[in-house]
Structures are given as structure tokens and as C-alpha cells.
Amino acid sequence: MGAERTTMGKAFQLIPDSASTFAQAIDANYYYIWAITIFFTIGIVAAVAYFSVKYRRKHKDEVGHPIHGSLMLEITWSVIPLLIAMSVFVFGTAAFFSAYDPPTGAMEIYVVGKQWMWKIQHPEGNREINELHVPVGQPVRLTMTTEDVLHSFFVPAFRIKKDVVPGLYTTLWFQATKVGDYHLFCAEYCGNQHSGMIGKVHVMEAADYEAWLSGTTRGETMEASGQRQFEKLGCSTCHLQDNTGRGPSLKNVFGKPVQLQSGTTVTADEAYVRESILQPQAKIVKTYTNVQMPTFQGQVSEDGVLQLISYVKSLSEAPAPVAAPAAPAAAKGGKK
């Protein structure tokens, strides 16, 4: 057995497996705050217990000593907690920022949530339901949305979670550090089978991942699906490659700035392409003011939109990162 597999469902684990590059920082924050919590709880409870015993009422007419207060004490126990609170803020924010933006060249995987399952698409065409296979040691960027209500993509072992929202894309990224199988949960209440919308994330050695990619049955790549839809839906009739059509050419558009008729400039990212397909009048490219691009809302599913985006990405000269194994492509058919 080459790879070490951790099993889910170990009887007693106070914290989940630490299987991503984030886990350490988040756990460190966690322990730091527990230390603060325990320190102050014990401290104050001890003081209260001590005072309650030492100053217990000795006879029924007794009263306490009149003490108004102390400005010095008030300042002390305002400033010190403030400093401690700010330290907790700073440590947390640092870790949060590093979790926010994926590194360039991260592997792209697409997630569509729906009641009550997670649909995963790899650019190579592999599709999974409630399972996500990823290679270890490689940054992975998830572009996610939902077909219906809010859900939330939660992998405790990675210490990450992000809601999926209808009408827009949210993104999540991680780099897995430990081979194994981990829980995937939906963490935003979504109706009846909310607690059934669970699955597994399989972190594999790079070679095993390649084998899985080519080994499992799959359809065409997302890019190919996207190209097929592009033609079937008639996009290709207006968006000619040589810019002579009614609509702009989509060659080299993705990832670059686009000048709009309103005068502003936006970047053609996933959200922009999605909006252009579903709500084409929202952002009209400069000089295409009199063209009425029809909307394809209702004609193409969220999965389909992601495939179209894949295709548009492939038309850009800067190659859209396809899943490249970290090691050079030598070890084919490696051990499972």
C-alpha cells in the first residue's frame, strides 16, 4: 500500500483530520482562543468563588463595605481585554486573507449544488455526485453556484466552507496536504434532505489522481461540451472569431479587461461570462450598443453555463490551467 489512508468515522477525534494548508493556522487560532477562554474563565470564577466564601454574610444585619469604584481598574480591565481581542482579530485576519485568493495556476473544478446533492465537474469531463477527487499538494480552486436555494460547501478536514448562492459564483480554494477520505457536508439549511447532502472528498497522490481521471468513465471535456453548446445554441452565428459578426469575437477575451458602453471597464471573469449569457443587457461592450443579444435564461442549465465558460476560457491565449500534475507527466498507471 503506497498511500496512507485515514478513515473517516474514527470513534474519537476531538478535531478533524488536518488535511489542508489552512488547517494549521486555523487550529492555532482555535487553541489560542481556548487558552484565553480558559484563563479568564478560571480566573474570574476563582475570584468569584474566593470572594463568595471569604466574605460570606456572618449575621443577618450585616452589610458590605461601601466602595464606589476605581478609574484605574476600569481602564486596566478595558485596555487589556481590548488588546487581547485585537490580537485575536489580527491572527484571524491574517489567516483569513491567505485563505481568500487562490494562487494563480490553481486547478479549476466546478461545483453546482442543488437540492440535495453536490454536482462536481472536472474540466477533463469527469463528473461526480457527492464526491470530489483531488490530488494532494496542489492548489485547487472551486467555482461554485447553486441551481435552487442556498447551500454551503463544507469540508471540515480542510477547515473551509463557502455558501453557494443562486445567480452568482462563489469561489473557494484549498491545497490538500494529506491523502485520505474526508467528509463533505452541506452547511446551509436547504430543506428536507439537508443532512443527506453529504459526501466524500478523496485526496489522492498525484499519480493516483491522474489514473482516476483517465480511468473512470467520463464524457467529453467541459471545453468540448461548451463548444458543442456554443454551436447548438447559435452563439457561433454572432460571435464570429474574426470579429465580423454581430457580436464581439470571444478569442482572447477571458481574463482580460473589457470596455463597456457605459464607460467603465470590467474584467471578463466567470461571473461576467455568466451574466453575458443570462442577462446580456447588463453590461454591453462598447460599440455594440445597438445589438440586442437575446438572453439564454432557461435554455441552459448552471452546468451548461460552466461548460460554456470553459470553452470561452479555452479561446484565450494564456492557457486556461488544465489539471496538471505537480510531478512531471512520467508516472502513468501508477499504483492506486
Binding site: 468569584v48 476605581s70 481585554p81
Partner: protein
């Protein structure tokens, strides 16, 4: 060395406590004299009954949830039923217990008396607020009859407005109407505190319970209307098909979350601030000592109310809001911890060189200390952006808010109801049982909710009907704790009822405490005082030797 002998005046209970011949309970008889009353004390008691009934209902749903969670499989009830059980538990407990419990019961009863007034400024508005509460409760009950809502008490769109098949609208409207009840209570308190203080009762001489309710009232009137409108938008979307949060029309579900939490975060301060006011009263009364740092505690209540309005986005770190919003809300959230810390230190300092007695109210107050400390400090985890990525929507959050709301607000309320029961009814409850219930609640509570912190960090999400096996052991502990907790809450129901007939007669001041309420009869007369008071001293002026010790 720690205490002084007081002048043997009103700090000493009278030798033979008398039950007054005429008081607010026997002035006016018959159902109409209650249902059409303008007396704030009677309205408080009517609230006591209706809130207690709703609390029992909410507790029933909690039992269903905890019973289901004993085993990993969803085998006690269907997923649909479970979702309705936790939703109705949340809606009932938030809108019909936690928000009104202290202001509408203890606040209504005591606030006018504590400032030396004959009643609240607007007695008919007070009665109206009770009727609105009842109407809201009936609407929510009608939702139950129709199967119950299943959206969670947070009503997130688009599930609530476009997908749910539960009885969402009656439940949402029930919360809406209860919200107006809350607004009217807050309005009444604000006007009363501004305009009805007796001669000599300056702002800085008012009991801290009054300050706490005043700060709460500011939140009630400024926050509740926002959720009221939000509920209407959801109802319009669901009922008529309007588009406010509908993504297909370009609507933004996250806008709902902003509008909802703009109220629902300050709402938690509506729940805790009055409880903190009670604790100030209890700590002072049961140490027979002026509260340490009066002005700091008073001002910290207002500070919590103000800062509380600025931090709602900490419920939304992973919602899709921008990273800068997250940053801003996080740093402000850490700020709101400071006034609470100030209060906690001041309460502890009050015990120093006090004369401390462990009657049942004090048992509850000390219990509050421990539980509120944990609840508040675990807020640090939630406010921390990185940790929240992991614990958001898990049982960690559930544990955190139950520590504050139940361990904090309800513990404080229980302490308060024990403390002021003799004033309200003229009877003492059995002291030994009072302490027993306090201990039962404290132990049962910790057993119920401490394991949930661990469950959350282990990764167990909220609102799960069934769960992976490794989470079972802590769930079993939690359910066991809930049983003890339930017993701890049921016991007072029994002995308070018993005390109405058989309890020892309390007399004016059974605790030997300072405060205008202890200078009138138990129960008080209809107009609260036989002769209207003039306030001539500071609050909590237990020992009047004129020495000032540096503290």
C-alpha cells in the same frame, strides 16, 4: 474585617412580615379587570403566564430535537418533521421567550416602581403590547396546526420565499406581530424613563436594571422595524410572487441576510442586556453593597446597544460578501466584547468586601457568571474570521448562542424571578428547592451544551436530522444534559405555584435590599406606593458612613 453593622432600619427584615390588606391583586376582581387592566403589574403577570406557556411549547420542540439526535440515524421522525421541530423551537424561543421575557415581565412590573412612578407613561399601549403578543402567539400556533414552518427561524431566501412547502407565512407573521409588541414595550420604557422619574431620581441614581432596560428599549425600537419590513418582503414574495430576492429576476438573496441580521444581531442584545441588569441588582443585593463602577456599568449597556448595531455581518463571513466587509464586521465585533468584559469585572469586584449570602437568586447569579463568561468568550472564536470559516453553521455556533441566551439571559431571568417573586406575590418560594433548581439548571446546561462546542469543531453541521456515527457520543451527552436541564426548569413551576398558597409571607423587604421596590408593600398597592417617593441618595446606598475607600 470585611463588613460593618448597618443601622437597623430597612435593611433588616421586619420582625413579623405582614400581608397587606389591599394591593394590586385584590383591587378589582373578575376577568374583565384583568383583560382590560391598565396596571403595569397585572400586565406583567399576564405576560408571565403567556410567556411561560410559549416557553413550555418551545421546550417541547427542543425535546423532540434532542431525542432525535440521540442516534445518528433519523429514526424518530421524518426529515420534514425534524426540520419543522427545530424551526418552531427557534421561532418560539427567540420571538416569544427571549425577546420579551425580562422586559415584558420583570421590566413591566418593576420599572415604574424603581423610578418612583405610579405606572408606565402609556398604560393602554402596554396592554396593547400584550394583546399583540397573544395575537402573534396565536398566528404562530396556527402555523403549527398547519404543519409548522420548516425554514429555520432565520427564514433565509430563496428557500423561505420560493421553495418551502411549510406553513411559513403564519409563522413569519406571528414573529412580525410579536415584533410590534416588542416595539411598543420599548417605546413605553423610553418615554417612562425620560419623563416619569420621581423627584430626586436623576439618571445616575437609577437602578442599573432600569439602565439596562432603557438600552434594550433603544435597540427594540430601532432594530425591530427593519426585520418587520423584511418579513413583509418575504411574505409578499411568497404569497404574491413579487421579486425582492429572486435570483432569476436579478434579486439578491444576500440582501435578505443583510436586512435580517441588521435586526437579529442587535436582537441578541435585547435578550442579554435586561439579564445583565438583573445581575447588577442581584450581585448588589446579595453582597449588600453598592455596585462597583456604577457609571461604567450604566454606560456599557448603552455602548453595547450602539456597537451592537454595527456588527451584523459577522453572521455572513462565508455568505459571499466581500472580504472587506468581513474585515470591518470582524474588528467591530471584537469591540463589542469590551463593554461586556467591563461589566463582568465590575460584578466580580462588587463581591470584594461584600456581605455575601447564597440565596437562590444568588445561586442563579453566580451560575450566570460562569455560563455568560463561557458564552461571551466563545464569541471570540466566532468573531475570528479564520476560525469562523470552519465553525460557521456548525454546533459550535449553536453552543455559543445557547450559552449566552439560555446560560446568560434565562439564568438571569430565573434569578430575577426568584428575587422579585416575593415582591410580586407577597409570598416566599421554598428556599432549598430554589437553590436545588439553580444547581440543576447549571449542571444540566453545561452537560447539554459543552459537548456541542466539541461537536462543532469536529465538523457537525447545524440543523442536521441525521449525522455520521462519530458524532454520537457527544450528542448522547447533550441529550442527557437536556433532561437534567428540563427538570431544573420544571421544578420552579411546581414550587412557585405551591408558594402562592403555602409560601411564607414575605413582607416588604425579605432580602434586606436597597431599592424603591423594597420600600413598598409586597404585593404593592395599585399605585405602587402609598406615598410617592422622593429619591435622596445614590443607588445601592447600603452603608452610609460617608467613607470613600479607594477600590
Amino acid at each position: 474585617m470585611s463588613a460593618t453593622l448597618a443601622p437597623p432600619l430597612h435593611t433588616t427584615p421586619e420582625p413579623e412580615p405582614q400581608f397587606p390588606a389591599k394591593h394590586f391583586l385584590n383591587t378589582g376582581r373578575g376577568v374583565a379587570s384583568w383583560l382590560l387592566t391598565k396596571d403595569h403589574k397585572r400586565i406583567a403577570l399576564m405576560y408571565l403566564i403567556s410567556v411561560t406557556l410559549m416557553a413550555l411549547l418551545g421546550g417541547f420542540f427542543a425535546s423532540l430535537v434532542r431525542l432525535e439526535l440521540l442516534t445518528p440515524q433519523g429514526d424518530l421522525m421524518s426529515a420534514e418533521q425534524y426540520n419543522r421541530a427545530f424551526t418552531m423551537h427557534g421561532i418560539i424561543m427567540v420571538f416569544f421567550l427571549l425577546i420579551p421575557v425580562t422586559p415584558a415581565i420583570l421590566g413591566n412590573f418593576l420599572l415604574p416602581i424603581m423610578i418612583g412612578a405610579k405606572d408606565l407613561a402609556l398604560p393602554r399601549i402596554n396592554l396593547l403590547s400584550w394583546y399583540l403578543y397573544v395575537i402573534g402567539a396565536i398566528l404562530t400556533l396556527s402555523s403549527l396546526v398547519l404543519g409548522g414552518a420548516d425554514t429555520g427561524w432565520t427564514f433565509y431566501t430563496p428557500y423561505s420565499s420560493m421553495y418551502s412547502t411549510g406553513a411559513v407565512i403564519p409563522a413569519a407573521l406571528g414573529a412580525f406581530v410579536a415584533g410590534f409588541s416588542s416595539i411598543l414595550t420599548g417605546l413605553n420604557f423610553i418615554v417612562t424613563v425620560h419623563k416619569m422619574r420621581c423627584p430626586g431620581m436623576t439618571w445616575m441614581r437609577m437602578p442599573l436594571f432600569v439602565w439596562a432596560n432603557y438600552a434594550t428599549s433603544l435597540v427594540q425600537i430601532l432594530g425591530t422595524p427593519v426585520v418587520a419590513m423584511t418579513i413583509i418582503l418575504v411574505a409578499l414574495e411568497k404569497l404574491l410572487g413579487f421579486s425582492f430576492f429572486n435570483a432569476a429576476a436579478g434579486g439578491d438573496p444576500i440582501l435578505f441576510q443583510h436586512l435580517f441580521w441588521f435586526y437579529s444581531h442587535p436582537a441578541v442584545y435585547i435578550m442579554i442586556l435586561p439579564g445583565m441588569g438583573i445581575i447588577s441588582e442581584l450581585v448588589s443585593a446579595f453582597s449588600r453593597k453598592k455596585i462597583f463602577g456604577y457609571s461604567f456599568i450604566a454606560m456599557s449597556s448603552v455602548a453595547i446597544a450602539v456597537i451592537g448595531f454595527l456588527i451584523w455581518g459577522h453572521h455572513m463571513y462565508v455568505s459571499g460578501q466581500s472580504v472587506y466587509e468581513g474585515l470591518l464586521f470582524s474588528v467591530l465585533t471584537f469591540l463589542v466584547a469590551i463593554p461586556s468584559a467591563i461589566k463582568t469585572f465590575n460584578w466580580a469586584a462588587t463581591l470584594y468586601r461584600g456581605s455575601i449570602s447564597w440565596d437562590a437568586p444568588m445561586v442563579y447569579a453566580i451560575g450566570f457568571f460562569g455560563l455568560f463568561l463561557i458564552g461571551g468568550l466563545t464569541g471570540l472564536f466566532c468573531a475570528n474570521l479564520a476560525v469562523d470559516l470552519h465553525i460557521h453553521d456548525t454546533y459550535f455556533i449553536v453552543a455559543h448562542f445557547h450559552y449566552i441566551m439560555v446560560g446568560g439571559a434565562i439564568m438571569a431571568y430565573m434569578g430575577g424571578i426568584h428575587f422579585w417573586w416575593p415582591k410580586m406575590t407577597g409570598r416566599m418560594y421554598p428556599e432549598a428547592l430554589g437553590r436545588v433548581s439553580g444547581v440543576l439548571v447549571f449542571l444540566g446546561f453545561n452537560l447539554t451544551f459543552l459537548p456541542q462546542f466539541l461537536l462543532g469543531y469536529m465538523g457537525m453541521p447545524r440543523r442536521y436530522h441525521a449525522y455520521p456515527e462519530e458524532f454520537q457520543i457527544f450528542n448522547m451527552m447533550s441529550t442527557a444534559g437536556a433532561t437534567v436541564l428540563g427538570l431544573g426548569y420544571l421544578l420552579p413551576l411546581v414550587y412557585f405555584a405551591w408558594s402562592l398558597k403555602y409560601g411564607k409571607i414575605a413582607g416588604n423587604n425579605p432580602w434586606g435590599a436597597k431599592g424603591l421596590e423594597w420600600e413598598t408593600t409586597s404585593p404593592p398597592p395599585l399605585e405602587n406606593f402609598h406615598t410617592m417617593p422622593v429619591q435622596t441618595e445614590e443607588a445601592y446606598a447600603y452603608a452610609d458612613e460617608g467613607e470613600t475607600h479607594h477600590g
